[in-house]
């Protein structure tokens, strides 16, 4: 890329920001080991994070998200399709994508930047950070802060020895339950039956979650969007793959 020394004139800025980033420049190996300790770009506690770097509008009194905090999380957001879909549906909520792959998260960051530039006053409520969601949720969020959480097409890690890498497991579920408010919803979709069953089993056995029956999902505008908003969802459609949905509610500890 050519380095531009002088400040851009208006036309050039416009051109630069209007062009959406191209996915092909942001590809990265599909699986990075989420347990390896190679990252350090996280706050030591939620209070230490300056959210206005991601959502400049939270300091803007006229904005819908003035003084708010993140309420929805797309874990492993990939190229960010779901964020972009949710943004206009929940104008008053701050939505965050968390993605572990550096290049993929950079793509999403550039994408949101371009969208904001294209359509002022839109997409101010979405952002993406590069982080390991398995390790750092309590660094970013306080207890009970999150109202909706999404796991769309999480990596299946087929081999039994790699199951511990699955983003839904006994250990991570407790952490998700911690950042989720009571009655908050967790949406999961996958094209892998075995992973679907694994997720249903783990959520059901955990104790702080209850499956939301399909009938009760009918009025939820989010559900329809889950299948195809994201890039992985589109891919599965192209390949005529199955799509398994399961939604869970964070409940009070029944034993307390």
């Amino acid at each position: 890329m050519e380095k531009i020394k002088r400040p851009l004139n208006e036309d050039e800025t416009e051109k630069q920001e209007l062009s959406l980033p191209q996915k092909k420049y942001y590809r990265q190996r599909a699986h990075s080991n989420p347990i390896a300790d190679h990252d350090f770009d996280y706050p030591s506690c939620p209070e230490a994070y300056d959210w206005s770097t991601l959502y400049p509008d939270i300091t803007n009194e006229k904005s819908n998200i003035y003084n708010k905090r993140v309420e929805m999380l797309d874990i492993g957001c990939g190229y960010g399709g779901l964020l972009v879909t949710l943004s206009p549906m929940f104008m008053d909520s701050m939505i965050l994508g968390m993605e572990i792959r550096v290049k993929v998260s950079q793509y999403v960051i550039e994408r949101i930047k371009a969208l904001r530039a294209n359509q002022p006053n839109c997409y101010d409520n979405i952002a993406c950070i590069r982080t390991n969601a398995i390790k750092y949720l309590p660094n970013f969020f306080k207890k009970g802060q999150i109202k909706k959480m999404f796991f769309l097409y999480p990596d299946p890690h087929f081999k039994k020895s790699k199951h511990k890498w699955r983003i839904i497991n006994d250990t991570t579920l407790s952490e998700y339950a911690y950042v989720l408010a009571e009655e908050a919803l967790v949406y999961t979709v996958t094209d892998v039956k075995d992973l679907h069953e694994w997720m249903v089993k783990h959520f059901s056995e955990h104790g702080l979650f209850k499956r939301v029956e399909d009938d009760d999902l009918k009025g939820d505008p989010v559900v329809d969007k889950l299948y195809e908003s994201s890039e992985e969802g589109k891919k599965v459609t192209r390949n005529n793959g199955d799509k398994f949905l399961a939604v869970f509610m964070r409940i009070k500890d029944p034993d307390l």
Binding site: F40, L54, P120, K143, D170, T171, A177
Partner: protein, 358 residues
């Protein structure tokens, strides 16, 4: 820590995981017994494990009747009856133990491991909770309703007990591994590789105070509602207490004791504070209300401490299997990486979003 010391009313136990010895010294009779020699035939022929990172851990039950420790060989939890020092049982662990405690009232053994899991050894082992990195310390509240754990990822966590899947609080803020925690009334005290001690409100999860001791903290142990603090690679032991100052709870360092040699471990029984250094054992008593820390050195005790010191001298320390050295080095590495990263990345990852005029 490749060494550890544990004390009850009549016994001092010194264990070294590197030389695979667990020496029980009777303060009454002066007799010494090596538990590791009596683990059973099955363990005799296993060579000493000098490749895995290990941490010597041991604990007496609150009533003193049971003792549990992790021998060098195999992933074992060895449980002993202390009235006659006979083996109760050897249990197999999923991973190497990094911590052993007993529940204060019900005598259940709770073990934290290198993977980050915590198991309670009822009839069968039950997984109480899991962290995403190694467990470094465990405390259980006196009413057995809560369990506090800390890990290699800078986290302190309070969970319900026995349902540890329900997290009450994460206490976030440490900037390196959290090596020790203890409960002081309504507070959690934590110590970390980041040099700080932090005091947290147990009921609200908030940070109340923070005190830097200028050296990474290696362990924190409660004694008479105060705490004794061991530092990494250091000859000092700090005694601290909590104090209300201008309506705020603070940590106050009331005394620093300096020893001739590096401190290896601390043990507490009642108001007694025992200190293990590279070549000696010391005993102090603490009078908390008057803030008096008294060294015990009458002729009789001096003789016993000398015997204990001679036992310690037979121990060796393998650096490469020492978990605390490993954690320390890893922390230093990470700091270097961060520094490098900050120097190299002139363009921050997140650039300001520029707006177009409409």
């Amino acid at each position: 820590m490749t060494f550890c010391m544990t004390v009850n009313e009549t016994t001092v136990v010194l264990s070294s995981i590197d030389v695979d010895k667990c020496l029980v010294y009777s303060l009454d009779s002066g007799n010494v017994k090596n538990l590791t020699d009596n683990l059973g035939e099955a363990y005799k022929n296993i060579p000493i494990n000098n490749h895995d990172l290990q941490k010597a851990c041991a604990a007496f039950s609150a009533d003193g009747t049971l003792f549990a420790y992790n021998p060098n060989k195999g992933k074992l939890l060895s449980v002993w009856n202390t009235t006659n020092w006979t083996l109760v049982e050897n249990k197999t662990l999923a991973k190497h133990a990094t911590n052993i405690v007993f529940t204060p009232k019900t005598n259940v053994i709770v073990v934290g491991d290198k993977k980050g899991d915590v198991y309670a050894f009822e009839e069968l082992p039950i997984r109480i909770l899991g962290h995403s990195s190694m467990i470094l310390d465990i405390c259980i509240s006196d009413n057995e309703k809560y369990i506090v754990t800390c890990d290699n990822d800078e986290k302190v966590r309070v969970s319900h007990y026995p349902n540890g899947k329900n997290i009450v609080y994460y206490m976030m803020g440490h900037e390196a591994y959290v090596s020790g925690i203890c409960l002081l009334n309504n507070f959690v005290l934590s110590g970390s590789g980041d040099n700080t001690l932090r005091l947290w409100d147990f009921n609200k999860g908030d940070l109340l105070d923070k005190l830097s001791l200028h050296t990474p903290i290696q362990s924190v142990i409660e004694i008479e509602n105060m705490a004794a603090i061991q530092l990494y690679d250091s000859r000092d032991v700090h005694i601290i207490k909590t104090e209300k100052k201008e309506n705020k709870w603070t940590i106050k360092n009331i005394k620093t004791i300096q020893f001739e040699n590096n401190v290896l471990d601390l043990a507490v029984y009642g108001n007694q504070l025992w200190i293990l250094t590279v070549n000696s054992v010391y005993k102090y008593t603490i009078d908390a209300s008057n803030e008096i820390v008294l060294r015990i050195q009458d002729a009789e005790m001096t003789h016993k401490l000398e015997t204990l010191s001679n036992l310690v001298k037979s121990f060796v320390c393998l650096e490469k299997t020492n978990l605390m050295i490993f954690l320390f080095n890893k922390m230093i590495d990470k700091r270097k990486r961060i520094e490098q990263y900050q120097q190299n990345s002139s363009t921050p990852v997140l650039r300001e979003t520029k707006r177009l005029r409409t």
